[in-house]
Symmetry: C2
Subunit: 459 residues, 2 copies
């Protein structure tokens, strides 16, 4: 990057808010993928006006910008794949601006950590449900840009269901407002709706207004053991059809159960086709009991054995043990885990797992699966020997076939992680050329010079 | 329109599906506004492929298209303001294609009547909550295009919260799919999200996949009388903060109460500042009682007198009488009602009603208000003598000031009805030139030749 640009930025936002030394550039070259790309500079805007001035200048000089929250994404959304500047919101634009009790709304800057928001609103008896696994470090700006999900999605929805309004800066420096602090607002196009999940390619988000709900007073855990994934899925269907939407309804397949058992020796049922672990919440014990009674009936009707209700926090933790430790346990099957967050309509989970089993057999790899039955989101893990390039290649072929099977079942390449760089090569599996062309037209409408996070999403 | 175009359409979809005689053109020139615009022809596509061929032809020949559901909109969205063809979905594309019990999803064509869908899914124990006042005749395609709300919005959200996926045709004839039958889907831009509420200006919707939920087993009504709107709003706030979200929480102001009382003599409290009527729902009587206990406490703490719970369907109907008859009763204040569906953040309702009172005084008009406190959506009615053009003009000035007050309080020009033609002149009150420019860029990305419902939304 030309030295005059760096000088301009230092003059604009202060030298202390511009990094261009090697050590810092390396510190901002990563995310949760294995890919590494160094930016030319890292800028820490102090406020929306800084963001506006920076974008305007970059647009005039065709300097590429990659917005960045915590850099914890799984698909490279925050990586400066083509150089240029990183716009980092962690240093200054990280404040909770308002918790509006009367309207049950929070207004935050993009750099606020998800869990910091959860804690702040829970201290006031309110609740912000989206809980991605990265909640302890990922930012709300990143959550909105990737449309993060989480464990509680089946009952409470995902990030987009909580975004009421945004302030954002367009590449030309124009500051726009989109949406309102109201449930109903049908004036103008739903610009907030398309900025969500756009992976920082359309505009830089500078302020987010989030819907909050009242915090449920209590929760309870239960678990059941099933002879097959089909039986477990029927139980899930019966539960939901009876009007009970659990907060979480997680499954482990036989391979995952055995991995946890081998590692921790907890007395898990090694012959089970699947186990389901569920949480219900509400405002009274009767409300919880009512839900668990319905769940128990649905489970028992579908071949469940060993139905257990936790009656203390310790018991609850115990029932959750297998699920919480699944991810680390499955490494017994291979040193390298190629994991994807594919999602299919709930009822297609058995068919998907069957297809995955066949693909595993074809490529002679082990593919343990676990995840969220309530919303059809499966964490599928192709386990290979990471030191063997041949095995890695085989693993990637298996992944591509799993993507194809997912799309054929009406599913999506990504339920939570986004496309970014990692899944860009697979976009053609899910979208027609006409659909991709529409994406490119939308991108151009917001960002005619293609300065905002280009080369992402396969555009 | 040139005769060759009519001939082309008749050949394409059959002469019986093309109207170009005067009587029929007049039959399709109206909606729920007073404006009248005749189309050049009315086309009834038989399927998505017809829609695609029609759009492609119209795009090549620059023929304007206005998609139309039931023509029941309040802002002119379905009016062919610049002539061209009406694309009417009522005749053929009006089928419920699928009710998927396992995934709790319905797939419908755009011409399905809202209430027909509600009835079909309720017969199977499922529930489609969006209930615009037009539910008996408006279509799902129209509901999605205008992002229709309804009484149950505070608890269950609005149309956009139930749209999981769309199929649609772009002006160039390209058929696109947007969204999936999954709660989580973060691959590609949220195209469905921006087609919703776009008033038929971006694409023609040909199929809609809707989320359903389990039908609550029972409901109960209650009512309270308050000394002021502020007191009533505090009671609403306390209710929601305690974790109770009523299905409906409707208010009538003093003018509306007195109008109903004058007309029907029901013994309503003529000195009350406001009354609140509320419905709660759930799966057991305990669940209803638990909610009503909390509501009663919140009401009594805020000066409520005469709290009543309905214990039978008749009592429930009785408590709802005032709200159901408010709209027709207020005509005692003037023969012509200029009504708008403005919406502010819930907590700003008292300030909005105060501002409306001052505007009413300034222009010497009566403005009774009633509506949805749960979501800040007020039906505000400027009552004038419809036979007096001077009064009409004064009324329109009052409306403009009410819009300004609404926007100043962080509210929106439209909570439910859309912008269309009627509110287009007021868009500059709510949006900056930069925001309008972005709307125009988005429009151009989808519809470069501006053939789809042009001149709507003030673009």
């Amino acid at each position: 990057m030309e030295i005059k640009h760096i000088a301009y930025f230092k003059n604009l936002i202060g030298a202390e808010n511009v990094y261009d030394d090697k050590a810092h550039l390396i510190a901002y070259c990563y995310d949760a993928t294995r890919a590494r790309y160094e930016p030319d500079a890292v800028l820490f805007p102090r406020d929306e006006s800084d963001v506006s001035e920076i974008l305007k200048y970059c647009n005039e000089h065709r300097i590429i910008i990659t917005p960045r929250g915590a850099g914890s994404g799984f698909t490279g959304g925050a990586l400066p794949a083509n150089g240029g500047i990183i716009l980092a919101f962690e240093k200054h634009m990280n404040k909770i601006l308002e918790i509006d009790m009367e309207n049950m709304v929070a207004v935050v800057q993009p750099g606020v950590i998800n869990m910091a928001l959860q804690r702040a609103v829970e201290a006031r008896g309110l609740f912000y449900p989206p809980d991605p696994a990265s909640e302890e470090y990922s930012t709300i700006g990143g959550n909105v840009s990737e449309n993060a999900g989480g464990m509680r999605a089946a009952k409470y929805g995902i990030t987009k269901d909580y975004v009421m309004a945004l302030r954002a800066v367009l590449p030309n420096g124009e500051i726009i407002r989109a949406g309102k602090r109201t449930i109903k607002d049908v004036a103008g196009y739903n610009i907030a709706g398309i900025i969500i999940a756009s992976e920082g390619t359309l505009a830089c988000i500078t302020e987010i207004t989030l819907k909050l709900i009242a915090k449920p007073k209590m929760a309870q855990t239960a678990m059941g053991v099933f002879p097959s994934v089909e039986a477990a899925m029927n139980a899930v269907y019966k539960t939901m059809a009876a009007g009970v939407t659990p907060v979480a309804m997680e499954f482990l397949d036989n391979l995952s159960i055995n991995a946890v058992e081998k590692k921790f020796n907890k007395g898990l049922p090694k012959d089970a086709g699947a186990i389901l672990i569920t949480d219900v919440d509400g405002n009274s014990q009767e409300e919880l009991t009512q839900q668990l009674d319905i769940i128990e009936e649905a489970f028992l009707e579908n071949g469940c054995s060993g139905f257990k209700r936790a009656t203390s926090p310790e018991e609850s933790k115990n029932l959750w043990f297998a699920r919480r430790n699944a991810s680390q346990s499955i490494t017994i099957y291979g040193s390298k885990k190629l994991n994807e967050d594919i999602t299919v309509p709930r009822s297609k989970l058995p068919a998907l797992l069957k297809a995955i089993g066949e693909i595993a057999q074809k490529y002679n790899v082990t593919v343990p699966c676990f995840g969220h039955t309530g919303d059809g989101n499966v964490h599928t893990n192709v386990m290979v020997d990471g030191s063997d390039p041949k095995q890695l290649e085989i693993g990637h072929h298996a992944i591509e076939e799993i993507f194809k099977a997912t799309v054929a079942l009406g599913g999506t390449l990504s339920g939570e992680h986004g496309i970014g760089l990692s899944k860009a090569p697979f976009m053609h599996l899910a979208f027609s050329e006409g659909e991709m062309e529409l994406f490119r037209s939308v991108k151009k409408a917001f960002d005619p010079n293609n300065i905002l996070n280009p080369a992402k999403m396969g555009l």
